[in-house]
Amino acid sequence: MKQPAAVLGVGQTRHRSKRTDVSIAGLCREAADRAVASAGLALADIDAVVVGKAPDLFEGVMMPELYLADALGAVGKPLLRVHTAGSVGGATGIVATSLVQAGLHRRVLALAFEKQSESNAMWALSIAPPFSIPVVAGAGGYFAPHIRAYIRRSGAPSHIGALVAVKDRRNGALNPYAHLQQGDITLEKVLASPMLWDPVRYDETCPSSDGACAVVIGDSDAASVAPGPVAWIRATAMRSEPTMFAGKDHVNPAAGRECVAALWRQAGITDPLNEIDVAEIYVPFSWYEPMWLENLGFAAAGDGWRLTEAGETALGGRLPVNPSGGVLSSNPIGASGLLRFAESALQVMGKAGAHQVPGARVALGHAYGGGSQFFSMWVVSSQPM
């Protein structure tokens, strides 16, 4: 029998390109301390810890959660380590939710991080294993052809990606935790920035960040004694498919469509564009906003860019997307998914500060990873089901 679960507290670091003032443990502890404090708790009140991060090869630490057990207050408790590629932050939140929903724990700490200044993601992603297609171009080189396919299919005007970048970077300037603070960015500047992987320009690409994010998830008893508003987890969903197979749609992946269908079903949502007040969507390259708007069913296939172009995804629009600034403003890879989930919770708790969507009651958190093949999503609400 599934028990109700809610986000009780959220914490994150100030994301930067180099956090040389802290170790990996110090970085994680900063987010953990803020999350438990915002829930009115101490680390000792936590029953279990779930850690997520992207590949261990990034920082060169094998299963770093073993070394982090002390810093996270996990000694003598259950400690799980999740790794589902780029979607891992979302998966970490969902696994922690499952532990509460299963009735195993009352309060679980979900924490995800990446310390890119102590890592070399391009190297780690460019190893050529036997019998696999070497990408040797990092993530941008991998995704650019799929974006070009999207533009060809949808007939989207060429400036849509730049519009997304301007919006997300300006949103990021409203968020003191965001890595990039570019409140004065303009469409002209984005369009004038160097082309990295056609059609993705420098200003349309996520940064490399050091950062961590933590979320405390609790059962209804824990929620009833929380000091402030909580975010009720109305639905969670995960879906995976192989990187390559005959018939794989890299632009509008079946795994994403089936994942969101399950999510809406569970949350009782039939008209997502009208029922979702705000969405935090994993957009590491600008064009993924319109692509995911379609994959998630906010727009018909080929029409996602119209919402972006009309300004409907900006703050004040019909569906504000990434009010936190999104992955385009901060990208501590392993934490990026949990940051989406955390921001969706902050929005329905009414605690998003200058990037708050007024009156937000129902929010979507979304993450994806691998070759557009791993999806994790949740819907949170200011009210229980």
């Binding site: 599934k2 590949p55 996990a74």
Partner: protein
């Protein structure tokens, strides 16, 4: 609540050094998926939730589990997750998923090609990356420090350790999946040279490649899939400090804590994940296993330790003993990290609660 889920199927690949196998696990997984599906009368479409355990560091590449998804055949898409841990913890995540009611049948699998590099050196990277790992204290040396402490404290002798190894090898003679087996006396083993004093080769698990798979099901489905399901009556895990100097290496509080949380009580059979001979002695004590408990009738990890699958295999073997009627209550144990840092206990029973 916890007895509402049962293990209904288990399969493992033989533990071998497989020079033909890639690090993705696919070659080892496909045959055992077929085997366990055949035994349960299931197809991959019947699996509501998949969860795997593996390590990028073992595979020498980022995202090694991604290729393993090919072994699932996840078209149409599957509800799937992955832990960077031994797959025993993947089974724990799957168990939680079944308890929530989101899946009725779940499958956990683990794979590891331990022979791809120098394993003991790779595992040094599990230690504190700033202060300890740069010194490259390899996993065998760390275990040797633990064994030395026990010898000096009078907790065991080298002969006690050799007897664990001799008994394990004798038991493994009836296990075709074991990598090492045979009849040898403790005295013969003690005549052999040290590899990291006080450890000899027989005190250390062999380096081998392998995979394992376990299927669990809710009460509503378990009986139709298996004549005698192995009901999960308790399932818990804990971690100890990551700082070797902050731990009493002769106590395993996380194993004792997990056994207590899993309400292990008395069992007839235990499959312990002890990659070093003295660790079986430590675990017997931490888990409160008496002389009457059959420990590692498979030969245990000392006779085959495919990394990231061996812990799951211990649970699978304990479940198999219950499913076959050889035991009414059995315990499967898994460990992870240096010198038994992290421990998991799964208790299986022939009777639903």
């Amino acid at each position: 609540m916890s007895a509402d889920v049962a293990v209904v199927g288990f399969a493992q690949s033989p533990c071998r050094v497989r020079e033909d196998a890639t690090t993705s696990g696919v070659e080892m997984l496909v045959p055992i998926f077929a085997e366990v599906f055949r035994a349960c009368g299931l197809t991959r479409r019947d699996i509501g939730f998949w969860c795997s355990g593996s390590s990028d560091y073992l595979a020498g590449r980022a995202f090694s589990f991604v290729s393993a998804v090919d072994a699932i055949g996840a078209v149409p898409p599957a509800m799937e997750s992955h832990v960077e841990m031994d797959a025993a913890w993947a089974l724990y995540e799957a168990w939680a998923k079944v308890l929530t009611g989101e899946a009725e049948i779940a499958l956990a699998y683990g794979f590891g090609k331990s022979s791809g590099a120098e394993l003991r050196r790779v595992l040094a990277l599990q230690l504190d990356p700033y202060l300890v790992a740069p010194l490259w204290p390899d996993s065998v040396s760390v275990a040797a420090l633990q064994a030395r402490l026990g010898l000096e404290a009078g907790r065991w002798t080298e002969k006690d350790m050799a007897e664990v190894a001799a008994r394990s090898r004798a038991e493994a003679r009836s296990n075709p999946d074991a990598q090492v087996s045979g009849s040898v006396t403790a005295a013969e083993l003690l005549a052999r040279p040290y590899v990291a004093e006080p450890l000899r080769a027989h005190d250390c698990a062999p380096v081998g490649d392998g995979a394992a798979v376990v299927i669990i099901a809710s009460a509503a489905r378990a009986r139709e899939l298996c004549e005698r399901p192995a009901w999960i009556s308790g399932f818990a895990h804990q971690v100890d400090s990551g700082s070797l100097g902050a731990r009493d290496l002769l106590a395993v509080p996380s194993a004792a804590g997990a056994a207590s949380a899993a309400r292990a009580g008395s069992v007839e059979l235990a499959e312990l994940h002890a990659p070093f001979s003295h660790q079986e002695l430590l675990l017997r004590e931490a888990l409160g296993l008496g002389e009457d408990v059959a420990v590692n009738p498979s030969g245990g990890a000392l006779c085959g330790n495919p990394m990231f699958a061996a812990g799951l295999a211990r649970i699978g073997l304990a479940a198999r003993a219950v499913m076959s009627g050889r035991a009414s209550r059995a315990l499967g144990h898994a460990t992870s990290g240096p010198a038994l840092q992290q421990n998991l206990v799964c208790v299986l029973s022939g009777e639903a609660s």
